[in-house]
Structures are given as structure tokens and as C-alpha cells.
Point group: C3
Chain length 211, copies 3
């Protein structure tokens, strides 16, 4: 296994599952604002590919979604699912949470690996991992005219940071890449699940008067 | 006629008319929020060049507006027109709609041609055509703290998609470029005009509960 | 002194002071919306590096913050300061205004010099100077779901434009680079201070009816 997760079939499958869950998240938020199908599709796209696109533009490489239509197709499929199964979406909340978290963990690793492959230092790679995992949701909230939810609730991007630090630590210790990826993946997932389960949040900033 | 519309004088003229109409749209929306002249200018710029800039950054080429000051000058002229003729702007609504639609159709074709010239496949070119035509209005709405209007009302970006598909179809059939461009142009315009005239919209997404 | 301000120690120091003040601005605005620590950090980052990142992406070079971790560290330090000294932040408003203005003036010059070094014409360089100085605050307001404050109040980006024009004028006159930089710096600062002191604003756009 090289240091490129998308060449491993099982991880490739998780990537698509994550893309699908991210797209579902964007489309459902758009539905809550009564956007039309096109608006839903764009919000789905924004969550699914927004973070990776920002990463690729900053790395100076062609945005990943332009090299393979699978991400657009996956989002179109998510749109059909949301439209057809609107009534049942709510009962699947736990499934979306699981898929979303798997996607978050994998996107983070993908962002780290791509940044390292572009010759970036590790601290940049960790930031790029965070951006890959978490920036799409921020773009969604900006498009929907909401305050970005990850700035106020939940441990989300911070889980990416810890996943990234785990990757870095194990890599420094020259661990095999399989172990490094697996450990990083589970650290991100576990932190996210624990935060959701026990409603753990970061402290809020206190209003310090007229800014 | 090569596959590059901006080398044809009549299309070059339509491009400037479209830029002007797009800038007017940004500045008038800024006026509705009582922004100052500078805010109006930035919103005008955002609509006029925002979509093309996103396209060019993703294609990895220098943003088009940096190669010719005409777009900045055209927007400045639009600002002067809005300030001086504020009282009469409302009566010109139909003119703006026509210019805006001509611009939309032409920007879409320009986006497609530039993407193909950069070696992108056709499905990427159609997306880039849409972004060139429609993303500027989304940036405007984000800057104005509004929900993007094209996500809820009107057939707008979808008209670009059909214009793009027309371009693709005729090109696959090896039609002369003049016919391909003209047909694509009119398909986009006609779909947009029909949608406005008969108030045709895409179906809205149904709220599927807590997203 | 070459035409690259960041190689001069005193200007390097002002750059960090400006970065710090910009970060403080982002974090305090986030605090006013009761974001958490992570949200505050991201808003601080957005103001401190957002403008320069947009500039670098459009110039086609690696974003400056990826070449040196000092900007991330400086913002982290600003976050600690806002958290620990929340009660005292309000009394320091004048200090933040001064630091912010120094940063604005220096960022503008840095943006101009980098653009010229990339072979851009001067009118592009002035726009890039404005973007470097002022776009971060717009990103902050978009993330916070506010209307961008610089579109409605204060002379802010216009001060950058005048600073940039001063740079251009003196450079055309073949003045020594030290004088060009110093004059441009003070023009930006003085216009900004006068505008704040005497509450000078640009005229507002009049609402011209349904846009």
C-alpha cells in the first residue's frame, strides 16, 4: 500500500460513501430552506467537493473532481434519494452520521496525503486535511445564509486535527502506512462519535464588547 | 471563426453588454441594501467577473480580468449610470433582463470554449460554462447576506446547462462552429426568457426534518 | 532596500503586528456571535491571511501562509490573548485601531510588490493591494453571516487605493524605494485615521427599486 488511499479498493469505497453522505447533508440543509432541485444539487456539490477543491486550488493542482465525473454522479444520486425518500430521511439520521464521520476521517487522510505528495510540510498537510474534511460544510452554511454550524457546535474540525496529528506521529515513528492510516482514521472517528454521544463542545468565546 | 468567441467583434460587443448588465445587477442589489459606492462597485465586480474568475482559478490560468482593464472600467461605468440615473433604473427592468440574458448565454459559451481550450473534457466544460454564467450572482448574494436567488427562483443555471448540451451535441455532429455557437446562444436565451415569461421554476425540495 | 518589504526587519515587525491586529479583529467579531474557540481561530485566520491567500491564488503562486507557520502561530497567540484578557479588550480599542491600520497599510504595499514581482501591470497591483488589505474582513463578515461592514461604513479599501496610487506615482517618478514605500504607507494610514476621526464615509447608493 502506497501513501495514497484512493488506490486501495476498500478506502475508495469509503470515499464514495463519504461523498454520498456529505452530498446528502448539503441537500437536506437546502431542503430545510426550501431551495429548488438545482439549489439542492449545488449545496450537495458544495459539501461533497468544496473542501477538496479549496485544498487543490491552494496546492496549485487541478481540482480532483475535474478528473473523474464520479463525484458529480454520486451527488446527483444523492439528490434523487433525497427527493424520492424525503419522508424516510429522518429515520436514517444515525446512518448519515456514521457515513458522514467515515467520510470526514477519510477526507482528512486524503487531504494530508495529497499535500505531502505536493511536497508540503506536515503542519500544512494537517491544515489541508482539516480543510478537505470540514470546509465543505462551511461553504454550505455560507450558501444557505446560516452561521457555520461547526463554529459553534460539536467537535468536528478538531477531530480532523487529532486524526492528522496521529498520522504525523506514527509516520515520524516510521510505522507501516497501513497502521498509520488505520490509526488516524479511527482517532478521527472516535473523537467525533464521543463528542456527539456525550455532547462535548469546545468552550465558547465570551463577548468582549464592541469589536 | 475559430472556437474562441471573444475574437469575433459582434460577440465581443455582446460580452461587454453582458458585463455591463451583470455589473448593473450587482450594483442595484447593493443599492437595495444601502451599501456605499465602494460596496456597490465591489458587488458589481463580483457579478461581472466572479464566475469567470472561479473558472480560471480552477482551470489554473490567470483570471481573465487581469489581462484587460475593460471589465473594471465597464463596471465603473455601470456604477456611474446607477448613481446618476437611479430614478429611471426601474423603468429599464426589461432592458436589464435582455442584456443579462444575452450576457448569461455568451458567458456560458465563453466558459465552455476556454475549458475545452485548456484540454478539459466536455462535462467539465459544461459545468464551467454554468459557473461562468451563474456563479457571479451567487457571490453577489453571499456578499449581500441574502440567500442565493438562483437556488430558489427562476430557471437560470439550468438554461446554461441546456445551452452547453446544445453546444456539445452540435460539436459532436461536427457542425460548423458558427452554427454551434449561435444555436447554443439561442437555446440558453430562449429557455431563460420562457421561464421568466411563464414563471417556470424547478420543483422545490421538501423539508425532510432535522438535517 | 529591494522592492520587497518583508526583507526589511522593521517592516517585518509591522507585518506581524498587523497580522496580530487582523486576527484579533476576526476573533472578537466571532466572540460577539458566541462562536467557540475553533470558530474564533478560523475567523482570526480568515482576516489575517484571507486577503493574501485570494491574491496569491489569483497570481498563481503558493499562498504565503503555507511557506511559514508564523501566521498560524500569531493567530493562535491572538486567540489566547482574547480568551485570557476578554475583560480588557474593550479598553484597548484604540490600540487595535492603530495596529489594524498599520497592518492595512503594510498589507497593501506587500500586495502591490508581490503582484509587480509576478509581472502584473500596476492597475492589477493596486487591486491586489486592496484585496490583500481588505478582503480578509469581508471573508470574516461572510463567515459570521453579517453584511460586510466595509461596504457600508468607513473609508477602508479606498485608503488602500490611495496608498496604491501614491506608490505608483512615486515609482513612475523613479523615487527611491524607501521613500515610495514610506509615502504610500503614510497616505493609507492618514486617510484611514482621518476617516475614522471625522466619521467620513462614501455616499450611500439610493435604492432604485426592485433589482
Amino acid at each position: 500500500m502506497e501513501e495514497n488511499i484512493t488506490s486501495v479498493p476498500v478506502l475508495r469505497f469509503i470515499e464514495l460513501l463519504g461523498t454520498f453522505a456529505f452530498a446528502i447533508s448539503g441537500i437536506r440543509h437546502a431542503a430545510a430552506k426550501h431551495f429548488d432541485w438545482f439549489g439542492g444539487y449545488v449545496c450537495g456539490i458544495a459539501v461533497a467537493i468544496g473542501g477538496g477543491t479549496i485544498r487543490d486550488v491552494m496546492l496549485g493542482v487541478t481540482p480532483f473532481w475535474m478528473t473523474n465525473p464520479i463525484y458529480m454522479i454520486c451527488t446527483a444520486f444523492a439528490l434523487v434519494v433525497v427527493i424520492v425518500f424525503a419522508k424516510y430521511m429522518e429515520y436514517l439520521s444515525n446512518a448519515w452520521l456514521v457515513f458522514d464521520t467515515l467520510g470526514l476521517a477519510l477526507f482528512t487522510i486524503a487531504g494530508i496525503q495529497k499535500s505531502l505528495a505536493c511536497g508540503q510540510p506536515f503542519w500544512v498537510a494537517i491544515i489541508m486535511g482539516c480543510i478537505t474534511g470540514a470546509a465543505g460544510g462551511v461553504i454550505r452554511d455560507v450558501l444557505l445564509n446560516n452561521e457555520p454550524v461547526i463554529f459553534r457546535k460539536e467537535i468536528y474540525a478538531i477531530a480532523c486535527v487529532f486524526g492528522g496529528l496521529t498520522y504525523w506521529l506514527l509516520r515520524e515513528m516510521s510505522m507501516p502506512i497501513e497502521i498509520t492510516v488505520t490509526a488516524s482514521f479511527f482517532v478521527t472517528c472516535i473523537i467525533r462519535f464521543l463528542a456527539v454521544r456525550y455532547k462535548i463542545s469546545l468552550p465558547l468565546l465570551k463577548d468582549s464588547g464592541n469589536a
